[in-house]
Symmetry: C2
Subunit: 423 residues, 2 copies
């Protein structure tokens, strides 16, 4: 792991266990005090209006375009590339650290315009996503699903260790944490009978992390693997809701479609690669060796705790999974290099999701399909009920954070409740 | 077929064989005389500035929002729904018909601002596409490809006649006619050897037609099949460029990805359902019967001529295919009903492409893969050379039109030249 940054403290109270420490300063979009949506960051339980900071001239040294934070999405800011994002985070650390400048600390009038209680803010989609790609980058997940459908011997298909398998998902139905998801209707084929139509009986979540693209590449050009991380503005949690019965009947030969595109849930904060740097680790040995265009040097992965919680309509809570972002086979840099090697253009705000992240043990599996193993091992809840898939009224909450020697940086949560299907 | 409209003539000269007759009035985006991009239509060889028409108050009766045509994409106009589009086309017919109002015919000063020679206009992408879906709706195409890879007995997979199979494509790399496409690099696996990296050796076109969505639907709601056509703003030609060797190695189990997303080519004009109404026909009998949510009444299909031309770098020309839009099994209304039955939201400007349109005879196949049957039947060109796939320097041109008793309505062309791969 890389060395830890020196300990720092803020003059703003940061509750113990907060994801939003002085080391984090993620970016998001919020509506504050009934105003228009704008760019924000967060420290402890306080939302920071970046537009107010800019208006009050606390960010002059960054030379950012006027009004860059007074927009309903972060795309224009992300398009500026990694440099301005890094400078902004460093400036926020200076403004809010107890050891830093007193420029804001000593001015309560400015603070009143800049700081807003998180409980009163409405967090919105941080980016307008034009293109969303879902990868399949966790070996344990791919092997689990493959074993269920093809047997252990052929669990991984022949291409899986040669390239990061991925496909295009639906951008329009990606929603921010807190937006309910409605159980989909669709066509399914139970057993040997004819196809039937009705509500999915096998609604599932998928625990994923997505990279958010900052600066893109022009159509016809490629991003080399060694330069790919420069194009990542940050990361967020991604729940790729899946209807397994719809997916199972539809997916041959062109891949998932209606089994996925009824909705996805993202966490509201984009956490920067700089903030996550203390949690970098080497990736797994890749054997067979990858082709040169997928080769990278150095620390390629992150060790971040990931957790999935279920809360029923009656308020019964259960941890469903404890996993880690370390359980990816393919790194995000490899995903980007592969995605663009044919000249495909990435754009600011694009999401590249990892695919379901499963560890080696059942406790670390990233979907109900795997946790309850196609319904063969239902999860028992504290009230005596059980789950093989997600039921109406259930809320699924993804969480993710890095923690090391007292330093914590996290994503917050990606939370969504399941509503019953419309008739 | 529906009855023909009464014959009409324009006071603007429309050359014989023009796709852009007084019955058409498609919508596009163009840069005229070096000005900013704006909404246009076309009649014969004259581009019509819709913004100038509105500014000169020729469209007051339509009560459209001011500046609606002074935008770089048509999305906001399409979002208004079918009514305004219909009223606009009828108003253009009245303004430009020899029998109609003289309001424009008698005012050369207005004409000079409104009419621009097509040869001098730069046509741009007509819509900003956020989501592009590709279907697989032609039975002959699905059966041809299935027969090549699985044999004649299992050519169609079990789900094919029960639902319109589709998948999400890449929106960012869709380009307007005239934009070159660069041969993609990628990972392939020739024979039994290890995977290799290099330029695709099996570059192909796909002859498709795409529906452009006008008014969308809210996430969580569905568009019934019987109402689906109201959500179609129009149609355009779509070339879904494909690298067969990259696709073949990558596509299991999640579908096509880098074999497709390096580029697609669309024709610049959105032709309205009203303009194509004279060419409506019944669809094929669907057996087994579809589930009720896919059932529609009345004329579901269109009889439009489709053609693919090849022009080599040396200027040698060859017609590769003569097909028809009649060769779809699944109608666009069925595609929309299926796409939204799970609550997936369509948005203005979304493209729903048909998938490759192949007829029953080799002369009507819609891709080189089928025409040259995996290279087993190369196409001979007039200069003695041959083609199994598309070569560097080749230009592929899709054309499409309806023609009946002297009435013609067409799309123009979707044209792109292949550039050599970058090293």
């Amino acid at each position: 792991m890389s060395t830890l940054p020196p300990p720092v403290h803020s003059w703003v109270e940061v509750p113990p266990g907060s994801d939003f420490t002085l080391h984090n300063f993620p970016l998001g979009i919020a509506r504050l005090a009934g105003g228009p949506p704008g760019a924000v960051s967060i420290l402890g339980d306080w939302i920071i209006s970046l537009d107010a900071l800019q208006e009050l001239r606390y960010l002059d040294s960054l030379h950012l375009p006027p009004g860059i934070f007074a927009q309903p999405q972060l795309n224009a800011l992300l398009a500026l590339g990694a440099g301005p994002g890094r400078a902004l985070r460093e400036r926020l650390q200076a403004l809010f650290s107890a050891e830093g400048t007193g420029a804001l600390r000593n001015y309560p009038d400015s603070q009143a315009r800049i700081l807003h209680p998180a409980a009163q803010a409405e967090l919105l989609m941080p980016v307008s996503v034009r293109n969303y790609t879902d990868f399949y980058a966790s070996e344990h997940h791919a092997a689990n699903v493959g074993a269920m459908f093809r047997g252990r011997e052929q669990a991984l298909l022949p291409n899986w260790k040669h390239l990061p398998v991925g496909y295009h998902g639906r951008a329009s139905s990606i929603c921010v944490s807190g937006t309910p998801v409605r159980r989909p209707l669709g066509q399914m084929k139970p057993g040997d009978g004819p196809p039937v139509f009705g509500p999915s009986q096998r609604l599932d979540f998928e625990l994923e992390v997505a990279a958010v693209i900052g600066e893109g590449n022009a159509l016809g050009t490629r991003i080399p693997a060694g330069e790919a991380e420069r194009h990542i503005a940050g990361f967020l949690l991604f729940n790729d809701w899946s209807a397994r019965d719809i997916q199972q009947w539809e997916y041959q030969p062109l891949g998932p479609f209606l089994g996925k595109n009824f909705g996805s849930t993202v966490s509201p904060w984009i956490v920067s690669p700089d903030a996550l740097a203390p949690f970098r680790i080497p990736g797994p040995a890749q054997e067979p060796a990858v082709l040169p265009y997928l080769h990278t040097e150095g620390l390629s992965h992150y060790d971040l705790h990931l957790e999935v919680d279920l809360v029923t309509a009656e308020g019964v809570a259960q941890v469903l999974s404890r996993s880690s972002l370390r359980h990816l086979y393919w790194s995000f840099a490899q995903q980007i290099a592969h995605h663009t090697v044919n000249g495909c253009n990435l754009e600011p705000g694009d999401l590249l999701a990892s695919g379901t992240i499963s560890g080696p043990e059942p406790e670390s599996f990233g979907s109900m399909l795997e946790i309850a193993w196609r319904g063969e091992r239902p999860v028992l809840l504290p009230d005596g009920s059980s789950r093989s898939f997600v039921e109406d009224g259930d809320t699924i909450i993804l969480r993710g954070w890095g923690e090391r020697d007292g330093l914590r940086v996290g994503f917050g949560a990606a939370r969504a409740q399941v509503l019953p299907a419309l008739s």
